[in-house]
Chain length 224, copies 2
Amino acid sequence: MTKKPGREVKNLLYEQVARIGKAVSSPKRLELIEILCQGEKKVEELAAAADISVKLTSAHLKELKAARLVEGRREGKNIFYRVVDAQVADLWVMLRALAEERLLELQAAMRDLVTRPGELAAMNGKDLLAQAKRGEVLVLDVRPSDEYETAHLPYARSIPLAELKSRLEEISADKPVVAYCRGPFCLMAKEAVEWLNRKGRRAVRLESGVAEWRAQGLPLAVDD
Amino acid sequence: MTKKPGREVKNLLYEQVARIGKAVSSPKRLELIEILCQGEKKVEELAAAADISVKLTSAHLKELKAARLVEGRREGKNIFYRVVDAQVADLWVMLRALAEERLLELQAAMRDLVTRPGELAAMNGKDLLAQAKRGEVLVLDVRPSDEYETAHLPYARSIPLAELKSRLEEISADKPVVAYCRGPFCLMAKEAVEWLNRKGRRAVRLESGVAEWRAQGLPLAVDD
DNA sequence: CCGTCTATCTAACGGTTATTAGAATATAAA
DNA sequence: TTTATATTCTAATAACCGTTAGATAGACGG
């Protein structure tokens, strides 16, 4: 019944693109992608971060690997997964941006995560970069330190959320603090900001993570 | 068992993004999106173009509408669908680019569609634009004329594929012809180029369609 | 070699989705 | 109003996917 020419070829092409689509059609796989955008991780770490079993994590990773969005590297007993390149992070940022703009339910849920006053949250990246360079603000990376080491915002200092309480004295009370984490869906910066404000520091949350930062064309830093 | 805070909120957020992912996880829905990127269409037209039943088309459009990627507009007996904004076209271009780069099967299938010598196919958009402006090449839009009217490449002339045979005299034999259609997956420009070459014209295919062109930041034209 | 840890494979279940046919709705024309 | 056309809704089936449990394989320490 197929009248038009090349219908089989076309079907094949769209099917291949749909494999990428299928890979990003599951909430847990998206969460795994977001975590992997911060740096490579063992399966066990991924399972813990996404709050699912190792078995299920493995199954999802298999799907992502089949779509060539992630790849694995064996090191002794562990297998470290990573996103295959930065375009995958761009895809994640784009999907999230699209969803955020379109889906009302998401906007409602996001409202809970936004730090209330957040003057600096709306500030554009370039201005923040300039202020950080001049030392007018302290940019704080509250992710685990391995993620900081993979890549972080320029002039950012690493104090993982778990160590924040014991390292408060490292944070000067003079400067305002801008804390960031894995991105808009991550709760670490929110927690850090709330705690710092209770301790009398002036702290606001930056919604962007490294993926969003890079997608905006802004530079990242890697320490040696 | 959920230890971490905000797990419910996070699940909700990822689920919302996954709705966008689900919408682009079906080959037919992707095909519909690509067609809608060329301009608004009736359900019946979409069904014919994607080679599926009207009922199934309607069901897929419902999904796409739920994800807020497309919207419908009633006009008399017909309902015209269109992509909700240009970001949707960007998503399509990005997904296709990702798939093209990663999936070997797709590369193999693409090889069949590429016009062999295609000197101009590799030429960058800016250079083509300059040549077209100086009248050194004839840029030919072989899509249906309503799609040309919605948006087309600058300096492009519209001769729908169906009318090509009867309007051959409009195409000067002096200038090389660059034909384009809906994009890399569309077969119309390929057919046009093959036919023109048999008629002694120097014709090559441009793989980009208007969505790819715009995603590269190049200007489009709309006639009044 | 044996046990342990990490990750995957297999099989199975329950729920979801694609697809089709038939009924229903909305608009325009007669 | 009746009739025709375009589209959607409902119901039903078959295929697919997420999830879990149990068995399997690879790497390290004894």
